[in-house]
Symmetry: C2
Subunit: 168 residues, 2 copies
């Protein structure tokens, strides 16, 4: 089971070098630091995610937002309410389907997003300070690959294999 990389510099197979566990643990640390940075701007990491999505993709219905962020609709509402209360987004009924709420990023929201992005940048620079620019780009691209596969894959089909154990 234990293998050695072609460079021979890092021993894989040691339990502590499991990529899945490292991803989970480092992600937890990243989430903590991002929260610290974002709370200064009155946001949670999830809310920042939502604002960024609206910026990148334009106005979206809440169902679409829920799908993109992989959160339950009832949870999304609780994230959106403070954003609307602060005037960072607006909810307007879609005239073509009046059940839908079109969520739109306001100018204030764009500004807040810029501020939060700057704070987030500092966190990232600190998190990844041990990486060269090339390595950081590599990491980013690898994470993009994994994320895109998960978001696409999870919506098109179910779990492809395993997973029997459920506690409750």
């Amino acid at each position: 089971m234990t293998s050695v990389t072609s460079t021979g510099r890092v021993l894989l197979g040691e339990h502590r070098n499991s990529p899945g566990l490292m991803l989970a643990l480092l992600g937890h640390e990243a989430m903590r630091r991002l929260r610290d940075a974002h709370t200064a701007n009155g946001l949670t990491p999830r809310q920042f995610h939502v604002l960024g999505l609206l910026h990148d993709r334009g106005p979206l219905a809440q169902t679409d937002l829920a799908t993109e962020t992989d959160t339950a609709a009832s949870v999304l509402v609780t994230q959106l309410n403070p954003l609307e209360a602060e005037g960072l987004v607006t909810r307007t009924r879609d005239p073509r389907d009046r059940r839908r709420h079109l969520v739109v990023l306001t100018d204030a929201g764009q500004q807040r997003l810029r501020d939060a992005a700057a704070a987030q940048q500092e966190v990232e620079d600190d998190l990844f300070r041990s990486l060269t620019d090339t390595q950081r780009s590599q990491l980013t691209q690898l994470l993009v690959l994994v994320r895109d596969d998960l978001t696409d894959g999870n919506e098109h089909c179910g779990t492809p294999a395993s997973l029997d154990g459920k506690t409750s």
Copy 2:
């Protein structure tokens, strides 16, 4: 600010491609999946981490374990108690310093660790199914770099820059 990779396939600078946020979000997802897999073996991801550490490093005092896993001593106790109750680890007083508890991985603990590692392997194979073997090794090494820097750096000195905003 927005840059394009040499391959031209992935746009950086889009908010949704921020490596810090992706790390946090993907890490959250990874933690969820690992928990699902490990609860089938009666472990939490943190407990798996502890068992793996004991396997890789041999017997450790709880202070050392707390340092390595970056958890408060009082939290570590609550993770260790069930492990000892199940006979996966033993706590013995260190004769050279009777304040210390030497935590030792038992044979049963090694077996449990093997089982859990197999389950974890399945989760990782699914998580990283979109990556080639080379890419997966790359990702692993990059994560190792980041983790080693954070664990070393956080114990040697404080936060090197930024970080003023504290809520409380």
